[in-house]
Symmetry: C2
Subunit: 340 residues, 2 copies
């Protein structure tokens, strides 16, 4: 039960391995007759070339790696879908790792990817590394080759990326609440150790400042982009009393936690509390509820990132390119934040 190799095919078809290789890769000239002989030999023996063996001389793997922090977050798997559609069309295979926001797994994934000699990487780091770790990551990235960052930037990495206008988006969200007449507004913060967390917080603050609205310390709920943290912090804030009339949540998972806590407390959106979130909440449409949110085109982000990567793979010398996508607030209901 030994592996069937190109030599088996060659001898069975009565040719040299070079000719078989030509047929396999559709390169160079092969007469129709011998081609057919070779093809049927392949068919009969059920031969499938070894990717590893092919990689060795060619230094091509045909694989693009994708490292994301959370598979369970709709934001990311939509990105994957978008990226996959582009990359597949380009004949690339996808090597996918989910790091669950764990730094160790992030590093392990990167190391595995280096070993694999992938031809490109779409990467959303699990965390914002400190200066020391960052140089390490930067080294890893240069070693890997073409890289496109998605959503989370790495300071001074010099690599391409597709990002969102977090500050502007959060600003729009807060502005919408203010325009609806709210004067006492709270925020469920994201992970402030991440730039996107800080930017969203900044945008939120700017809107309040421009409207000369105060932001009280206890209306800033600490979160980390997860449902649990938001849920707990919201419950705590509810217990404290004098609840804001409206809230902004820094991402979809935070929104989940917030809304669950609020609902358990018997309050309704938007009658009792106004609400808007960064990224939409899925699935509630089946009960006729739709929450206001900032909507990003996730599939588009994935596609854009994949295109950037393909172009970078084609011309490694190109200057660095960054795309920053802005997005629009989507209010549900004409009046304010009424779940339709």
């Amino acid at each position: 039960m030994d592996e069937i190799t190109i030599r088996d095919i060659a001898s069975r078809a009565g040719v040299g391995t070079a000719t078989v290789s030509r047929v396999l890769n559709k390169s160079g000239y092969v007469s129709a007759k011998t081609r057919i002989r070779i093809e049927s030999a392949i068919e009969e023996l059920g031969y499938v070339p070894s990717a590893a063996a092919r990689t060795l001389p060619t230094k091509k793997t045909g694989v693009v790696a994708l490292v994301i922090p959370e598979l369970g977050n709709p934001f990311f798997y939509k990105i994957i879908t978008g990226a996959a559609s582009v990359l597949e069309r380009a004949g690339m295979h996808l090597f996918l790792s989910s790091t669950d926001n764990v730094v160790e797994r992030d590093k392990a994934a990167l190391y595995a990817i280096r070993q694999l000699r992938v031809e490109g990487l779409l990467y959303t780091p699990a965390a914002e590394y400190n200066e020391r770790a960052r140089t390490e990551i930067r080294k890893a990235l240069t070693a890997i080759g073409p890289v496109v960052l998605i959503d989370r930037e790495i300071e001074g990495s010099g690599v391409d990326g597709v990002y969102s206008d977090n500050e502007g988006g959060a600003y729009l969200c807060a502005k919408a609440l203010i325009d609806a007449g709210h004067r006492h507004i709270g925020i469920v913060n994201g992970d402030l150790s991440l730039k996107i967390g800080r930017e969203r917080f900044a945008g939120f603050q700017r809107a309040l400042r421009e409207a000369s609205l105060p932001l009280r310390k206890d209306d800033i709920l600490p979160g980390n982009f997860s449902e649990c943290a938001a849920y707990g912090a919201t419950r705590a804030r509810l217990a404290a009393g004098d609840f804001p009339t409206a809230f902004f949540a820094s991402n979809n998972l935070s929104a989940h936690g917030f809304l669950r806590a609020v609902h358990e407390a018997g309050m309704r959106i938007p009658q009792d509390v106004g609400f808007i979130g960064f990224d939409p909440i899925e699935g509630t449409d089946i009960v006729g509820v739709r929450f206001s949110s900032l909507e990003r085109d996730e599939q588009g982000i994935g596609r854009d990132a994949a295109c950037l990567l393909l172009e970078r793979m084609a011309s490694p010398q190109m200057a660095q390119r960054r795309m920053v996508l802005s997005s629009a607030v989507h209010l549900t209901g004409s009046e304010q934040f009424f779940p339709r």
Copy 2:
């Protein structure tokens, strides 16, 4: 800018490549001194061994492939999470492909995987192939090596698998509706070209038969496990009038489509229509709604499948093993199908 190889390390450390290899794989004896010399050479040069080159002589890739039909379906990414936790602990890397239920992509994925010489495969086929295609798939699977099927069986493949008791589960669902007093019950069918679709339909029918309830043709809504199909069919049925007092949906996506259509028609669950679905609906808890459903332990399924695979990889000669997991109906609310 040539690739750094084991020879570079060897010469820099003043040793042979074999010794470097021993250090890399922690195999055989190496004196502490030379080990340190080698390790620092690796460090200084930033050497990362090539997976392809290593695979060639060892015939080991350290990769397990995972082929699933839909990334966007919570059922599957929970399975992935479960499987990943087990496989990572075993030091395996994951090569993931989503086929979006497209047969061509399924075949392409399988072919890519054969080329990669992965050490194992967790596989949910995109479709139920006809006899002719099936023998082809079977050949591919034997060529790939250790395989564990998840959720969808392949007739006569002889490979291990983890399945659910679809007939029994659907029966329980229908039974629950009947016990709640419903006499006019409809079904949103799944894809009947898939065994799991037929089994769920069969279980549903059995429950009705045992209760001597009739099943009218127009109460059998054709579906294909997708939200769209269910949505359209439900709308059509609503227009026809004499709507059943309760419905069973064959999977989570179908449930989505059904519930959306029903809600748009201004009907409420369970006051206007009783409902239960195979697999739960996510995310509605934030508005305090929970639908009755059959609950499966998806992470557990993923873990079980991964364990089966690891054991199969360890002992290829073992007899075929199939796990059929049964699951319990989860009613929301003590009385019947009341959204809490």
